[in-house]
């Protein structure tokens, strides 16, 4: 059953897409632009959409990755050092947001979809177009990396394990 275009963008779905873009880009304002771009593309495209969530997540992720690459190309051209984002407070949410921002793109996407949006492993693997075992590997690395980042922020050092 194909969904009518205007029914696709419920508040819940828009919030989820914005959160995803914010995690991937580490920028909530730019995330709004991404969501708007995706909405425009979906409304204009005549192709029928079968699995809406999967389609929209992939669209948002691809748009974010394009922007990140454009950002990196620009920074190379002007030889600027992009300053790393720092946490401004020790609020749990901000610490975790910072930790996610330090992860590579794929790990950010995997953690966001699984641990923030609550999709199942199978669903996330489908959205990222990878095998479940591969997804588990990405998630494992991401969670351990986040653990180390958070430990360093809270205690100033990382204990040997």
């Amino acid at each position: 059953m194909f969904m009518d275009r205007k029914e696709i963008f419920s508040r819940q779905r828009l919030d989820g897409l914005w959160r995803l873009a914010s995690s991937v880009l580490s920028d909530t304002e730019e995330a709004k632009d991404v969501v708007q771009d995706v909405m425009m593309k979906v409304c204009v495209s005549p192709a029928p959409i079968i699995n809406v969530d999967s389609y929209l997540v992939r669209a948002v992720v691809n748009t974010c990755i394009d922007r990140i690459r454009k950002r990196d190309r620009v920074s190379e051209l002007v030889s600027d050092v992009i300053s790393e984002s720092r946490i401004e407070s020790f609020d749990d949410r901000e610490i975790v947001r910072y930790a996610i921002s330090r992860l590579p793109e794929r790990q950010r996407i995997a953690v966001h979809l699984k641990d923030i949006e609550g999709y199942t492993t199978e669903e996330v693997a489908g959205m990222m177009e990878i095998e479940e075992n591969h997804l588990r590997t990405i998630l494992c690395r991401a969670r351990k990396a986040m653990r180390d980042i958070i430990e360093k922020e809270l205690y100033g050092e990382v204990q040997l394990r």
Binding site: R11, R19, K32, V96, I100, R136, C140, I150
Partner: protein, 142 residues
């Protein structure tokens, strides 16, 4: 409130870091971190507590919550003014349709009937004539 032993928590946490935790283990971890205070937690559990808390908070962020949605007009803001306007119009119509007023009766009541007014006028005329007669008689007596 369910009490979990530390062994169960550590086992679930290790599985979670390996991305091998099943649904039950993930639920145990969510419940545990939601109900336990982080102050007395060992270091590694405290770190996981921050992670779960932060991930949960990020999942609650909303873009659309800050958007203003035009409120639907309430029934009362449309209907009540209409009723008041209609009532005012009826009142104006009623007041504008004046009932004829011919005068006052001997007891002070308003005479609004033409027939009653004619009758009253007749009585007053008679009294006037009678008054003239009484005057003539009083003059004759003098």
């Amino acid at each position: 409130m369910v009490k979990y032993n530390s062994g169960e928590i550590r086992k679930a946490l290790d599985a979670w870091y390996e991305a091998r935790a099943d649904e039950r283990q993930e639920q145990i971890l969510r419940d545990y971190f939601a109900q336990e205070s982080p102050e007395n937690m060992p270091r590694d559990i405290r770190i996981a507590s921050v992670m779960f808390s932060g991930l949960g908070s990020l999942g609650g962020e909303s873009l659309t919550a800050s958007l203003k949605v035009p409120r639907k007009r309430k029934y009362t803001t449309v209907v009540y003014p209409l009723i008041a306007a209609a009532a005012a119009a009826v009142l104006i119509v009623i007041l504008s349709v004046r009932r004829p007023f011919y005068g006052y009766d001997y007891d002070g009541s308003r005479i609004t009937s033409r027939a009653e007014a004619m009758e009253s006028a007749g009585y007053l005329q008679c009294l006037t004539l009678l008054d003239d007669d009484i005057f003539m008689i009083s003059e004759m007596i003098k």
